[in-house]
């Protein structure tokens, strides 16, 4: 039956049909839904791991045990899982294993624009790249046969526009399962020098066999147009743009297996046209390959290294139709993403801004605290970097700035890679204050459970990491817990811990206001007679607050009554009507 599916749902379906029975992942946009959809299928054991390295290694363990497995991550997640990946290339697999990696050209929700294809080349493993949901399902399904035939992990590369675009798929029947028991094989699975030296030639020989496979396999296909002078090599979403813009008058070599790349097939294609063009988002991977073959090729001379393409981008480069819409003479005010009304991070950020603390930030919703009007974050690098970065910052200047610096990190990010940084702070003794913004969920990626929430991916009760005990166990003696809705407490505890000459942890604890179980208070109101328009409340950047007709106004549809603005108002203009009623009673 025909069904619309986003690419990520199609991948989950394809993994299942291909015989996958174990999935371990860490959420990351635009890859998250692969594992969320997989978890809806009870035939597969699915888990959120603390980070991508753990997820990848767990999936390898399953493969070793004879169960087809997968893990999914965003492009930067593969950096974290790169360590197992490179040696997985040497060990190969027992049952098939697939690593789904989702790139984010144009950085819709990412901190960089790296191109995951480099990993396939560097680790010497095959990489498939689907161009729509139907291919996402098909490639994921067939990845296991490829993995087992060539004894290698297979990378499945997605990108935002494939991962989050719905197109029509026809789900099929799952492939029959089989038993592939683990058999002890030290020379294959123990990668110490003596054995790894024997495995490396096998890896190189495998690449030769995979290259031969690429010459004839139907993951790649020629779409030849009679009389076409231009030939375009493309894959994934770039293929769709080429097809749309100039598909009727150029020949296309559409690549589904993007590593290793065919040689003779590309030479033949190049020979069939007058002008060879490579259209690829991000880095010139295909183009570089063509140049290495000595072919005359145009690629990045026509197309940018930066951002996403579109049909117009291709049309402009290759002479297709470009459309023009309407332009307005005035600028439309931007509408950037904002932190939600009642976000439990806002109160603590208010204290950080007020105390002019240099804040080493991390990856999550709380990165948005860097924006106007709070400007509370100084740097954001990668998952976990706040804790380790703060240590280096403080140690390098012999704690000169200690007392003026802090790290902020979410509960899920702390589990991912913050705890190792905290061990370092403790072990190498820096005067650092780490603030764990514990909102009891992985927020940014859309509410996934993590080891601190007490629930697993299915929502069933699970072991719960006790953050206070964990911090104390690594040697942090001062661990404080505050409610971020209590500004006075935030301010006092922050000042005390910044002043304390040694490492400390502040846990700012309150669940994300968007969680279904969170009960919110009635909206607050502004008494216009009391409001002096001092705009103290406006410093919070709360989307429920605005100035209308010269006075502060609270949008009752957005306000959740968190009361943080109420505490900032020196004129008692912001009121909690339900509290008044209670007093009256």
């Amino acid at each position: 039956m025909k069904k619309l599916m986003i690419g990520n749902e199609a991948v989950a379906r394809g993994l299942f049909e291909g015989g996958c029975r174990f999935v371990s992942s860490y959420p990351g946009t635009p890859s998250t839904e692969i594992t969320e959809f997989a978890a809806k299928n009870d035939a597969m054991t699915c888990e959120w791991a603390p980070n991508e390295k753990v997820a990848c290694e767990a999936a390898f363990g399953a493969s070793l045990a004879g169960v087809r497995s997968a893990c999914a991550m965003k492009h930067v997640g593969l950096n974290v899982a790169a360590d197992p990946l490179f040696t997985l290339s040497y060990t190969g697999v027992n049952a098939g294993m697939v690593i789904c990696v989702a790139d984010d050209p144009a950085m819709h929700s990412s901190q960089n624009e790296q191109d995951s294809r480099h990993y396939a080349i560097a680790a010497k493993v095959p990489m498939l790249e689907p161009a729509d949901s139907a291919e996402a399902l098909d490639f994921a399904r067939r990845a296991y046969a490829l993995s087992e035939e060539f004894d290698t992990v297979v990378l499945l590369r997605m990108c935002t526009r494939i991962a989050h675009s719905q197109s029509i798929v026809e789900p099929g029947e799952p492939l029959p399962l089989f038993d592939k028991p683990y058999i002890k094989n030290p020379e294959k699975y123990i990668m110490m020098p003596a054995f790894a030296k024997k495995r490396h030639p096998i890896v190189e020989e495998r690449t030769e066999r995979l290259t031969a496979f690429a010459e004839t396999c139907d993951f790649n296909r020629e779409e030849l147009v009679a009389g076409a002078k231009i030939g375009v090599i493309a894959s994934g979403t770039a293929y769709q743009y080429v097809k749309e813009a100039v598909g009727e008058r150029v020949s296309i070599l559409k690549l589904g297996l993007v590593n290793p790349l065919p040689v003779e097939r590309i030479r033949r294609f190049a020979a069939s046209v007058e002008r060879l063009v490579v259209c690829e988002e991000l880095d010139p991977v295909l183009e570089t390959h063509c140049r290495a073959l000595g072919l005359s090729v145009e690629g990045k001379s026509l197309f940018s290294l930066i951002g996403e393409f579109s049909q117009s981008v291709v049309a402009k480069a290759l002479g297709g139709e470009v459309h023009e819409g309407y332009s307005l003479d005035e600028a439309v005010p931007v509408r950037p993403p904002v932190r939600c009304a009642g976000c439990p991070r806002r109160g603590l950020y208010c204290s950080l801004a007020k105390n002019k603390v240099t804040v080493i930030g991390d990856i999550g919703c709380y990165t948005l605290g860097a924006q106007a009007p709070l400007f509370a974050v100084d740097t954001t690098l990668c998952m976990g970097a706040s804790v380790s970065g703060l240590h280096g910052f403080n140690k390098a200047v012999e704690n000169r700035d200690a007392g003026k610096t802090a790290a902020v990190i979410g509960d899920s990010t702390f589990m991912h890679s913050g705890i190792t940084g905290l061990v370092n702070i403790s072990y190498n003794a820096s005067n650092s204050t780490v603030i764990i913004l514990d909102n009891s969920i992985t927020g940014m990626t859309g509410h996934q459970q993590n080891p601190t929430t007490g629930y697993n991916i299915k929502g069933d009760p699970a072991a719960k990491v006790d953050l206070e005990t964990l911090c104390r166990a690594v040697g942090i003696e001062r661990v404080r817990v505050v409610d971020p809705y209590d500004l006075e407490a935030c301010d006092r505890v922050l000042k005390e811990e910044l002043a304390y000459p040694g490492p400390s942890v502040i846990i700012s604890r309150r669940p994300c206001v968007l969680l279904k179980y969170v009960k919110t208070a009635p909206p607050l109101t502004v008494d216009p007679d009391r409001c002096r328009t001092c705009k103290a409340c406006m410093k919070l950047g709360c989307p429920a607050l605005s100035i209308r007709d010269g006075k502060a106004k609270i949008d009752a549809t957005l306000c959740v009554g968190c009361g943080v603005c109420e505490q900032l108002c020196r004129f008692d203009a912001i009121q909690n009507r339900s509290a008044d009623k209670k007093e009256a009673l």
Partner: protein, 193 residues
């Protein structure tokens, strides 16, 4: 000759319920036998930011996105967002827009003001605009959450799909207890001035 693909952009503010509208539309178009692509960006932009969904249908759809000057329809949940995407509107295209105003952060902080007559300015440039208070229609139907369906009702006037197919799709997409409210909102949007 290239087969015509119809391009619909659904735009609004994160959290306004555009997801249900694109889900309903996508399902309906598949049932009608079209090739369909529905594309949106998840993640950061969900949180009160400007959000866009591209819906494309025809005999064969390739690119998942709609480019500048290609949108046959822009269905906007909010007034300012209807204007923001004007560069995407095809010369012969139409904006179907809810006149509700939601202040963006620069307006909230006072760095900018909400441009009140922006739709009139767009119309003065020759764009076709159907502006109406879809929120009021939704409330009349019984729920402010039915704004999306009221907007689809208006869109339905311009698409070559029988009315009853739309109501069937509503029944299949929304929870049973909300079907009658949504059918009413659809009807009010369809008949709106």
């Amino acid at each position: 000759m290239k087969k015509k693909v119809t391009n619909i952009m659904i735009v609004g503010v994160g959290g306004q319920g555009s997801l249900l509208a694109s889900k309903l539309l996508g399902r309906l178009l598949v049932d009608e036998g079209y090739d369909v692509k529905v594309s949106e960006v998840h993640g950061m932009s969900q949180r009160g930011g400007s959000v866009v969904t591209y819906v494309r249908f025809g005999e064969k759809v390739t690119s998942p996105i709609i480019d500048l000057g290609e949108a046959d329809f822009i269905v906007s949940f909010e007034k300012l967002e209807g204007a923001r995407y004007a560069p995407w509107l095809a010369r012969e295209g139409r904006v179907i827009v809810n006149t509700q105003e939601i202040d963006p952060m620069p307006v909230i902080t006072g760095a900018a003001s909400y441009p009140s007559d922006i739709l009139e300015k767009l119309a003065a440039k020759g764009a076709s605009i159907d502006a109406f208070d879809a929120l009021a229609l939704a409330e009349e139907a019984g729920s402010s959450k039915a704004v999306n369906i009221a907007l689809l009702g208006r869109l339905a006037r311009y698409l070559d799909i029988p009315y009853e197919k739309w109501t069937e799709a509503i029944a299949k997409t929304v929870a049973e207890k909300f079907v009658s409210i949504n059918e009413k909102a659809f009807s009010l949007g369809y008949q709106s001035e």
